[in-house]
């Protein structure tokens, strides 16, 4: 008995070591690309800035409703790095708060969409050939039959125009894409020997889905999640831009571009700030996503 327990212990230790080794290898692969490192640091910096916006922004009070016509329409200067807007608010400060809204949108949408889509996709793939598969796949195909932005815009237009409802609309249109992704991965590994063996040994459905199938697919899902973080911002900005999302004076990046672009071309700096903010976020997540894809590409 003692010998067996000893072996078991050694085995666990070995497994831990392999896991550590794997992590080390993944990090090694990730840092091979300077662009991935750039993406990671940019995402971290943006997140930090968003989290501590009150302390980072030079004029935190300018985020929302604030009027000081004396300072209005000022071009970029040392006092106001990105100039001021028509109410005399510091554009730079507003962009910083815009990042906070951006991360909130990413968090809200992805935390709703990813679990729903992934679980449904796993279930559809696991129950291949049954009506459950047909139901889930057809349902997602229906949502995918409309261009995502069109669907999101039309749902948002029915609801009250605010940032929360806009994100609900985005979530409602987004989950099928995760179903599609996990479904296709699951069907391709569904009948692999190790899954069938686990089934034969009487492993429960939830064990197979979450302990056998999910870990294999995690890398691809994580890559998509990172790349999608940028897309959330893109779609969110688009909805806000047409006026169906966040409403002024919310310091949302898309809303700001929409508000300020009316003052183009004379007061170009107003639009420049939030537009650059949007681009920066999308770019960072895309670079990071490419790096994460590299990590799993070799597995």
């Amino acid at each position: 008995m003692g010998r067996e327990a000893d072996l078991e212990l050694r085995y666990l230790e070995l497994e831990k070591k392999i896991k550590r080794e794997n992590l080390r290898r993944m990090w090694f692969r990730f840092k091979q690309s300077k662009l991935s490192i750039l993406g990671l640091s940019m995402v971290l910096i943006l997140f930090f800035v968003a989290a501590f916006a009150e302390y980072v922004a030079p004029y935190p009070s300018h985020a929302g409703l604030y009027i000081n016509f004396r300072d209005a329409y000022k071009p970029p200067s040392l006092d106001h790095l990105l100039g001021t807007d028509m109410y005399g608010r510091d554009v730079f400060s507003r962009v910083i708060f815009g990042f906070r809204y951006a991360f909130m949108m990413i968090g809200l949408v992805l935390s709703l969409v990813v679990p729903t889509g992934v679980v449904l996709g796993l279930i559809a793939g696991y129950y291949r050939g049954t009506f459950i598969e047909t139901l889930i796949v057809r349902l997602s195909d229906i949502f995918i039959a409309l261009p995502p932005l069109v669907l999101a815009l039309s749902i948002a237009s029915i609801l009250e125009p605010n940032i929360f409802n806009a994100m609900m609309a985005v979530s409602l249109m987004w989950w099928p894409w995760y179903v599609k992704l996990t479904y296709s991965m699951t069907t391709s590994i569904r009948n692999e020997p190790f899954i069938l063996a686990a089934e034969a040994q009487g492993a429960s459905t939830s064990h197979i889905i979450f302990k056998e199938l999910l870990p294999i697919e995690l890398g691809t899902i994580l890559t998509k999640v990172t790349l999608d973080a940028g897309w959330v911002i893109l779609i969110g900005a688009a909805i806000s831009f047409v006026g169906l999302g966040a409403q002024p004076p919310t310091p949302d990046l898309g809303t700001m571009v929409s508000e300020y672009s009316k003052y183009l071309p004379e007061y170009w700096w107003m639009s420049l700030g939030p537009a650059m903010g949007i681009i920066l976020i999308i770019l960072s997540f895309n670079l990071l996503g490419d790096g994460i894809r590299d990590i799993f590409a070799g597995e």
Binding site: R138, L139, D141, I142, F143, A145, L146, P147, P148, L149, V150, L151, L153, S154, I155, A156, S157, I158, L159, G230, L234, A237, A238, F241, V242, G243, L244, V257, S261, L264, P265, W268, S271, A275, I278, I279, I282, L283, N286, L287
Partner: protein, 345 residues
């Protein structure tokens, strides 16, 4: 017996299957759109008429929409109306929605077709140039361009291009489909076609000039993505055994590249065009707004901002059908390029 075999063959046919599936999906889509219009808003009648409408008017409108009937009956009547081309009356302008859509649709079709032309040409040229010489100057340019294309949203491109090309450099017009004073008699609704039919070259050129900036803003993101995919596939395929085999027979490089490597590399690029088509149709809503383009999408946005339910439903329905048709076409194209698709299963 032979009839049954023939029937079986038709049912097994790739194109037949694909089309049936699309029709089923379109029916599902109609349910979804119906749900958006009738279920999401809570009380559609109240939403349509506004909070200040008297209760008895709302009640009458409710009866008109058959809102007091069970939901599937409502859907049935709604669908029958849709099949008869009846999309109802705008709740804001009281004009017939179907007529309005026909009025505005051609402008969007023209915009999308022109965008597709720019997109395909741009993606093909950039993809081939960078795929032929990886890590060359042009390849690095395409790489940077690709990141810009992905990170800069179409509506930001629209603003930038409008500002630079129209306002600062004054090269191209900033708004609309035609300059003031130029008129074309409406035949198809496509200005480029109508002006040619009328033999009006000036109007044709003016129409094209108005198309360039909006199309470019819609196309840039797609060009970037497709060019990168084409490049990656070219580089991957050029090292495959089926290419090396041809090299081993001394077949000229240009034939190997442009015939034998390009065709398989184009398959993933064309496949991804379904997604790009979706982003074009979506972004058209913003781009038409920015350029004051009198198309279906701007009509749709106006309707959305006014919560004009009937018009929203009409627009979404038309776009859904158009997008489904486009995806079928793209799949046809893929099946032409890749014979394996048709023979699967």
């Amino acid at each position: 017996m032979r009839l049954r075999k023939l029937l079986q063959k038709v049912v097994d046919n790739f194109y037949f299957k694909r089309t049936t599936y699309s029709i089923v999906t379109l029916f599902g889509l109609s349910i979804l759109i119906f749900a958006i219009a009738r279920v999401l808003p809570g009380d559609p009648a109240r939403l349509a008429l506004g909070p200040r409408a008297p209760e008895d008017v709302v009640e009458r409108y409710r009866a008109l929409l058959r809102l007091n009937e069970p939901i599937y009956i409502q859907y049935y009547y709604w669908l029958v109306d849709v099949f008869h081309g009846k999309l109802g009356v705008s709740l804001v302008t009281f004009r017939d929605v179907a007529t309005d859509i026909l009025e505005f649709l051609p402008a969007t079709i023209e915009l999308i077709i022109f965008t597709l032309i720019i997109d395909v040409a741009g993606a093909f040229i950039l993809g081939v140039l960078s795929g032929r010489k990886p890590n060359s100057l042009i390849d690095n340019f395409v790489r940077i361009f690709a990141y810009a294309g992905i990170a800069i949203p179409a509506f930001v491109w629209a603003i930038i291009l409008q500002l630079v090309l129209a306002n600062w450099l004054d090269l191209l017009p900033a708004y609309g489909r035609l300059s003031l004073g130029i008129e074309v008699k409406r035949i198809t609704g496509l200005i480029t076609v109508d002006s040619l039919l009328a033999g009006n070259i000036n109007a044709f050129i003016d129409g094209i000039r108005h198309l360039i900036i909006p199309s470019l803003s819609l196309a840039i993101g797609c060009i970037a993505q497709e060019a990168r995919i084409l490049r990656a596939n070219l580089i991957e395929n050029i090292n495959k055994d089926y290419i090396l085999n041809l090299y081993s027979h001394g077949i000229p490089q240009s034939i190997i590249f442009f015939k034998y490597a390009l065709k398989p590399s184009m398959i993933p690029t064309v496949t991804v065009m379904t997604l790009d088509m979706a982003s074009m149709l979506g972004n058209a809503f913003l781009v038409e707004l920015i350029f004051n383009w009198p198309g279906l999408s701007r009509y749709g946005i106006t309707a959305m901002l006014r919560k004009d339910l009937n018009a929203i439903v009409g627009v979404v329905l038309v776009i859904g059908i158009a997008y489904t048709l486009a995806s079928i076409l793209i799949e046809l194209l893929v099946s032409v390029l890749d014979p394996r698709v048709k023979h699967k299963r």
